[in-house]
């Protein structure tokens, strides 16, 4: 190797540039530093450049068809249909670009992605005597055991699955493991597919770790702190990181869209350092994690008892007749109306889950017509969604008609739930178990009614009920 005039040891690099680029992956033209400076850093071996889109045109099939395979290095998209080409104004050639991650800035074949590969910045390691976690509650015996196992697994660098029933107190049992990781000076990210969950977690985590800067990242978030060792983020936001986190915790790992969009799993993999351990949390783990856990390939723990020690409410099935037809006629099925009337008289807040946005509007309207006063409907595109959920929590709205967006992450004490049209294919086992988990979460009202209104039992409904009964049996009821 030729010895260059300045080796990495002798000359110094720009600290600002390092701070900007460390742990990130950034298109070259988006780095706010002079071209000359960046070029110097590249030739000194502090910055690595990779092609934004990797092309592979070899192989028998592609040599015949002339069709190439592309891979977007930023988002992991390899679907041929999600690429398009354009005569590029920058390089003057025919350039392929990725349409999948377009709203984070376009990645073309001529784009170079820069990552910092020079010396890592020093981190402020808290003194070991310090107590970082200010949470003063008590963990149940199950939680304590799970927390200890999680802590030892993450310390040893193993991935871990926490399979805990809804309302088991998953967040709290993370605290010991997170505290130890922070004491070792590691960067921890708590990530989840849902913005609502990030918004709910942020104040709780911040209260638990008052001494540590905490950053919350989601679309449109304002709590960004550049050097925070503890980050709470949606999985979408992780795409901006590159080999940055030592510990990754994914909450609600089965929630939409994590298992529908391979980009998110790719983002998590890329944001974590090589060999970083990942903790998965879920009440209804997806098949691959479940099988890995059951066959012993993945360490993990199953918590089948809620933190308050009461069993999970088991759903009841109630036949409504042909509900799509009754709705077309503009009437709600009788059994449903009577149930709602009974619960409303008993003054319990009610969740009413419906299969689609259209039905959310319709059922809300029909319930209002029936004379129920404080009814509201929410769905994902509803601009007032957060206000309505807050109003429901505070008791100003008594009946909340919702699509499956509120199936997780929302806790309303004493709430009961109905699933209207539970035979719709939208409601699979996972969704129905999560919905049943909305009921009986608080210690002072651990019971509650959960009813599936259907026109013919589906396999998924029966599986959901079996799942809950099985968990109760394992919990010793």
């Amino acid at each position: 190797m030729l010895s260059s005039s300045h080796s990495p040891e002798t000359t110094s690099f720009s600290k600002d540039l390092r701070q900007f680029l460390y742990g990130r992956e950034c298109p070259l033209e988006e780095i706010p530093f002079s071209e000359q400076l960046i070029r110097d850093h590249v030739s000194a071996g502090w910055i690595n450049l990779t092609d934004g889109i990797q092309t592979s045109g070899d192989g028998f099939f592609s040599s015949i068809t002339g069709r190439k395979k592309y891979l977007c290095v930023r988002c992991g998209n390899a679907n041929f249909a999600a690429f398009a080409s354009i005569t590029c104004g920058r390089c003057g050639r025919n350039c392929v670009y990725c349409r999948h991650c377009l709203n984070m800035g376009v990645i073309r074949s001529c784009t170079k992605l820069a990552t910092w590969i020079g010396p890592a910045p020093d981190r402020a390691v808290p003194t070991p005597e310090e107590k970082l976690c200010a949470w003063s509650g008590n963990l149940s015996p199950e939680q304590t055991k799970a927390a200890a196992e999680l802590d030892s697994a993450l310390s040893e660098g193993d991935s871990f699955l926490i399979w805990a029933v809804t309302g088991a107190g998953k967040t709290e049992l993370l605290f010991p493991a997170v505290e130890h990781a922070l004491l070792r000076g590691e960067r921890v990210v708590l990530s989840t597919p849902r913005t609502d969950v990030v918004r709910e977690l942020y104040p709780r985590i911040k209260a638990a770790f008052p001494e540590i800067p905490v950053s919350a990242l989601y679309g449109g978030s304002s709590e960004r702190q550049p050097e925070a060792p503890l980050v709470i983020a949606t999985t979408h936001q992780l795409i901006r990181f590159h080999r940055y986190f030592d510990r990754v915790i994914i909450d609600e790992v089965d929630a939409f869209p994590y298992h529908f969009d391979p980009m998110l799993a790719y983002a998590v993999k890329k944001a974590a350092k090589k060999g970083a351990s990942i903790a998965y949390l879920s009440a209804t783990p997806p098949a691959d994690l479940k099988n890995a856990f059951l066959s012993g390939k993945l360490r993990g723990v199953k918590i089948s008892r809620r933190y308050h020690g009461f069993p999970l409410p088991v759903p009841r099935f109630m036949w409504t007749g042909n509900w799509p037809q009754s709705l077309r006629k503009g009437v709600l099925p009788k059994s449903f109306i009577e149930w709602v009337r009974g619960k409303n008289a008993a003054d319990r807040p009610l969740f009413c889950f419906v299969p689609s946005v259209r039905l959310a509007h319709l059922v809300t309207e029909l319930l209002q017509k029936e004379g129920f006063a404080s009814v509201a409907g929410v769905h994902a595109q509803d601009p007032n969604r957060h206000e309505k959920v807050t109003a429901f929590r505070e008791g100003r709205i008594r009946i909340l008609v919702t699509t499956t967006i509120l199936e997780r992450g929302v806790t309303v004490p004493g709430a009961e739930a109905a699933v209207f049209g539970a035979d719709d294919p939208v409601f699979d086992e996972r969704a129905l178990v999560q919905i049943s988990g909305r009921v009986g979460r608080s210690a002072d009202r651990p019971d509650g009614d959960i009813v599936f209104f259907h026109n013919g039992k589906t396999l998924e409904m029966i599986r959901a009920r079996r799942h809950i009964e099985q968990m109760n049996r394992e919990g010793g009821f």
């Binding site: 104004g89 349409r99 709203n103 376009v106």
Partner: protein, 260 residues
């Protein structure tokens, strides 16, 4: 690209099955019906004769003889020069704004393909290559010498082209399927039109457009069709038209995707 999936929303396009869709081998990418219906088309029978805006969206008092007040003002001020008329296909609305932002500023050039059918038809009609003109020519029996028409996209300055990666007007011009002549160039890193207000647009000084001398001979005595993505005040298009004056074309018309 996958022709069965909508370019905007990524959902199944669910085109109605007709003999034409069944028999044609064409499966070019496009928009689905729901996305397409959110665009507001300009009815060509009821649009301003000069700028192509939808007169149905205007107050009656701003229209005189199927020309809008803005165009009357242009006529009076004598700012038209050799600029003839503009034809626009869609009105600007929030949905169009969203789509155009993705197309222009996020760099999703493939979206233009979704407008191909309409844009191509409108372009060919102006340059006299649609079936109706062909039919007329056949029927009249006389051998008309065909009028030549040169398609010129609105240029971007070098810096902007580098920043954006492509010229949206050029992408649109190529949809027509006829040779495109890059006869204009734009000098100087001027401020974006979309960041200025009406007065600033109308009053800014020197003409940023320049005719490439190599093409001035080709353009002499022909029709010129300028292509751009959006007609807002018409100032940019008129300046571009003014740059042609040296070559003395027969007239300069323009075709834009949007009026807004």
């Amino acid at each position: 690209m996958n022709g069965l999936v909508c370019l905007i929303c990524g959902q199944d396009r669910q085109e109605r099955m007709t003999f034409r869709t069944l028999l044609s081998a064409d499966s070019s990418p496009g928009f689905c019906r729901t996305c397409r219906e959110k665009f507001v088309k300009i009815p060509q029978g009821h649009s301003c004769r000069l700028c192509g805006r939808d007169l149905g969206l205007m107050d009656e008092k701003f229209i005189s003889g199927s020309v809008c007040t803005d165009c009357r003002r242009w006529e009076k001020s004598g700012g038209n020069g050799c600029f003839g008329r503009n034809i626009a296909l869609y009105s600007y609305n929030d949905w169009m704004k969203e789509v155009i932002t993705t197309f222009k500023f996020r760099g999703d050039a493939a979206l233009a393909v979704g407008f191909r059918k309409e844009f191509r038809a409108a372009g060919r009609k102006i340059i006299g290559k649609d079936w109706r003109t062909h039919w007329e020519r056949l029927r009249n029996g006389k051998h008309h010498p065909r009028e030549t028409c040169v398609i010129v996209p609105m240029p971007l300055s070098g810096n902007r082209l580098k920043e954006r990666g492509f010229n949206q007007a050029e992408v649109l011009a190529e949809l027509i399927g006829e040779p495109v002549v890059p006869a204009l160039c734009r000098i100087g890193g001027e401020r974006k039109q979309s960041k200025k207000n009406r007065r600033e647009r109308l009053e800014s000084g020197e003409n940023p457009f320049k005719l490439d001398e190599a093409f001035s001979e080709v353009l002499h005595g022909t029709k010129v069709l300028l292509i751009d993505d959006i007609y807002t005040t018409g100032a940019t298009l008129r300046r571009a038209a003014a740059a042609f004056e040296r070559a003395d074309p027969k007239c300069v018309d323009s075709l834009t995707l949007i009026h807004g």
